[in-house]
Amino acid sequence: MSRLPRVMRTPAGAAGCLILAVVLVVALFGPLVAPHDIATPIGGPGQAPSGAAPLGTDYLGRDVLSRLLSGGRSVVWISGAATALSYLIGLTIGLTAGYSRSIIDPVLMRGVDVLLAFPALLVLLLLVGGMGQHIVVLIIGVALVQLPGIARIVRTATLETATRGYIEAAEARGESSVSLVLREILPNISPIILADFGIRFGYSIILIASVNYLGLGLSPPAADWGLMMSENQQFISVNVWAVLAPAIMLALLTIGVNLVADSYVRLLGRSGDVAAELEAQLPNAPGDITPSALQEPAAPGL
């Protein structure tokens, strides 16, 4: 945990923290200071920014600023809930598979890999098509999509840690598997988990915002940055801010999360399989990825 303040000392990390803090404050406390109701029109549709409505009005005449202030909460909490749920399951599977040293490992991992046969967005659309448009469906869907990656990285980290001397010592002391995993392995892989959580959170945000943008997530009149962009897009030439303002907020949120996660991964400075997997997860990891790590499925001996 002591690494968190150090993230702020790198330029990219500091910038990321600052951006993220601003967006999160807007998202969490914005609804409290929103000057108007998000569902009632305050003027004609598509009015240009003015004193009464600093960002103008949207296609139904509602205040864009109020909707912008209220539209971040759903993005953050749904993405957070989905990532957390995914971690709850993924962590259990990964720890069990990594430490079991038995047939449970391949069985669990192959089972999880099945989910990789689909593009992520397709899984979400299938679920929405089958179960209907609902926040719970969205959360379950994103959790399912993230599950294989989480289980995989936790398993790799567990395998790497399980060979250490202190694990052998704990085994020799006769500690039970459960307490060993929870008290010896889990604390030691927590930095990796934290880094991976950041990366996943960023990805969850993109997925949820995309589904909302497609109109298959939250339903109107909910204020949500993704939904706001799509519902106002047809009227983009009337008041560009109704589309651009939520776009800027979403962009800042994505950039902030990625900068922080990226700086944190670099600070970990780990080498080996776990680091390679973490790097591969980063949507914007600059620097060298060993090409061989990405060729792995091509190796015929597997």
Binding site: L126, M131, G132, S210, L214, L216, V240
Partner: protein, 342 residues
């Protein structure tokens, strides 16, 4: 420097003689795995069609339910058969090209074959994806090689930073910003890709520009980063140093020694891009209202047209799996080291 490198035991020829041709073994294994994946995928698609709370027919029909329509839809979706039999019918129909009827149309009392619903959109999407890929490859090679050759210096930073910040954005954000710039501000390109039903995308090149740019902006980061990484790696190799010391012209060193050996990961990147495009195209087509398969899929989901959702998902999943196999095979054939290893 190179004396300490471990020499691999056994020449490639001896390995090839000892066992069955490794490429063949690999192909068989990969195709079998692919078929297994597809079976699981169709099961998942089938399952997602069944988890509708309540009876599928009544949910799809909603307020349009009449006894006659319910009966028609139940017959069309084979709802009167037991579950395993229904799954087999579903897969059998898909394989034999009998794609069934649009459930949403049945709900309105019409019969509309799915093949008619998705035919033209599928072609439009293939055009969009094809143009993107054709531009993607040279763009990645150019940007990746430039960044790799100037690694750690200004051109590298400029390319990497731009590509990476674009690559981290969702497609709809990039697409919307492009609309704001090229439509709202400059009024150069249309914000909506209108293609008349009888026309092909090629007769409306303007409609393709922004969707292609969006897909490229989001995907090039990944590819160029891979090319950059492998160029950096190859540049460190002894044979590149050797070629340089031999006085080979710089251009030749880059084109013949560096780029060619950096291609392996490039193929892998290309495959991952095709797979990315399957998801990316769904969002991008909706940003520009481009009449493609992704647009159709989202429409089908919003009206819960079960049969159309199932068919489109199955097609996309099949493309996904096939790309994987082809890419692995291409890498195998391109990189001699992998071909001969056991």
């Amino acid at each position: 420097m190179s004396t300490s490198v471990a020499v691999p035991t056994g020449s490639p020829r001896r390995v090839a003689l000892r066992r069955r041709h490794p490429v063949m073994t690999f192909v068989i294994r990969r195709v079998l795995a692919g078929v297994a994946t597809l079976i699981v995928a169709t099961m998942l698609i089938f399952a997602s069609m069944q988890i509708l709370p309540g009876d599928v027919a009544s949910v799809v029909l909603g307020r349009n339910a009449t006894p006659a329509r319910t009966a028609a839809l139940r017959a069309d979706l084979h709802l009167n058969q037991p579950l395993p039999a229904r799954y087999l019918t579903f897969v059998g129909d898909l394989v034999s090209g009998n794609l069934g009827n649009s459930s949403a149309a049945l709900a309105q009392g019409r019969t509309l074959p799915v093949s008619q619903v998705i035919g033209v959109p599928l072609r439009n999407s293939v055009v969009l994806a094809g143009i993107t890929i054709v531009l993607y490859v040279p763009l990645c090679l150019l940007l990746g090689t430039t960044a790799g050759l100037f690694a750690g210096r200004k051109p590298d930073h400029a390319i990497s930073l731009t590509a990476l910040s674009l690559g981290a954005m969702p497609e709809f954000l990039v697409g919307t910003v492009l609309i704001v710039i090229f439509f709202t501000k400059l009024n150069l390109l249309p914000p909506v890709s209108q293609i008349a039903p009888g026309d092909t995308p090629f007769t409306h090149p303007n409609a393709l520009v922004l969707p292609v740019c969006t897909l490229l902006a989001v995907s090039v980061a990944f590819g160029s980063r891979l090319v950059r990484a492998s160029v950096v790696e190859v540049l460190r190799e002894d044979y590149v140093a050797m070629a340089r010391l031999n006085g080979q012209p710089r251009r030749r060193v880059i084109l013949r020694y560096t780029l060619r050996n950096a291609l392996g990961p490039g193929i892998q990147a290309l495959a991952q891009t095709v797979q990315y495009l399957i998801g990316g195209i769904i969002v991008t087509e909706n940003v520009f209202n481009y009449p493609g398969i992704g647009n159709k899929l989202v429409q089908a989901v919003s009206v819960r047209d079960v049969q159309v959702i199932a068919v489109i998902s199955a097609i996309l999943a099949a493309i996904y799996v096939a790309t994987n196999i082809l890419a692995d095979l291409a890498v195998m054939l391109a990189v001699p080291k992998l071909r001969t290893q056991s």
